[in-house]
């Protein structure tokens, strides 16, 4: 009994890690709407943002169901505070310039795609189904972000410099994606979710290949920030949530 209960707690946590990461990145990307450098990129970014928000509805919807306390995906997204969020630190980084936004997207997609592939094999059919649906969207996200990182990295001196600086800036936030803690290990042992560190070989290979084609160089230093998955966030997330949540906070249960 207590084992089953603990596993549900871990599962809620694991689902929030996935759903909060797609939610926060989706919101960040949506901040570009109407501001992207060209109309075509504006629409492409909005599509990616919408895909991520759609995935959030599925992950957080399932999280709420597993939790069983009468909350739903909206309650989790709009009525929790910063310390309850379980997203990766990488996705809460501010957009910066277009290069930083794309680099953040690529570094995340290169993890997201193999992670979803692994989750398709989950022993929980609900997780496998969400992963399969999201996987088709994310395959395109990865194709697009990898392609643009290569084009801009191996582009003009200006675009190369911006992409290299984006990489240097974001690199210390990549390690957290592939660190497993007790929750991750419990879920992996139960065959429900893939352990984050199992994604490392695929991420390394993909990132090395794309960066080399893009003529970009990953920083040598190995210091990595961590804590997002456990609820310790940078100051940026609070500002983002204030913008994202204010309407539901000011007018609870307001409907369209």
């Amino acid at each position: 009994m207590s084992v089953a209960l603990d596993l549900d707690v871990a599962l809620f946590e694991g689902l929030c890690r996935l759903g909060d990461s797609t939610l926060v990145l989706g919101h960040r990307v949506s901040e570009w709407c109407g501001h992207a450098p060209v109309l075509e990129e504006d629409i492409a970014l909005a599509n990616v943002a919408l895909d991520l928000i759609g995935q959030t509805q599925m992950w957080l919807g399932l999280a709420a169901e597993v939790e069983g306390k009468g909350r739903d995906a909206d309650a989790l997204a709009f009525r929790r505070d910063v310390w309850d969020f379980r997203n990766l630190l990488l996705v809460e980084r501010p957009n910066g310039d277009f290069g930083q936004t794309l680099m953040r997207q690529f570094l995340f997609d290169a993890w997201h795609q193999p992670m979803l592939k692994a989750l398709e094999g989950s022993g929980d059919p609900r997780i496998a189904a969400i992963a399969a649906k999201a996987g088709r969207e994310v395959a395109y996200h990865l194709e697009r972000s990898a392609d643009l990182v290569i084009r801009l990295g191996d582009g003009t001196p200006e675009s190369h410099a911006r992409m290299q600086s984006a990489l240097d800036r974001l690199w210390p936030y990549t390690g957290e994606m592939m660190m497993s803690d007790d929750t991750d290990r419990a879920l992996a042992d139960a065959g429900i979710m893939a352990a984050p560190d199992s994604i490392r070989p695929q991420w390394n290979a993909l990132v090395a290949e794309v960066l080399s084609e893009a003529t970009l160089k990953a920083p040598d230093h190995s210091f990595m920030h961590k804590g997002g998955k456990q609820g310790t966030h940078s100051e940026h997330l609070g500002h983002m949530l204030a913008t994202m949540q204010w309407l539901q906070r000011a007018y609870p249960d307001a409907t369209w």
Binding site: L39, Y140, R151
Partner: protein, 94 residues
Amino acid sequence: MSTEWPLWEIFIRGQHGLNHRHVGSLHAPDAEMAVKHARDVYTRRNEGVSIWVVPSNAITASSPSDKGPLFEPSNAKVYRHPTFFDIPDEVGKM
């Protein structure tokens, strides 16, 4: 050097068996990106199964001012339209 990306004409096939149809145009640095942009701009609502992109400057168009000489002469030649035949009902839609 022009800072504007070249213009591409986009053709989308709605379903297998139908023709590619012109849906509009967009800017992209090359053909590959034009296909990606077309996917994002023109197939958001499940409109297509195949995309063609053509550089707009590869299209040679007739001049609007030639409309008269080009098209009007056929108005008077009713014998070019097979409207004098009775089509049996069994043939169905042609």
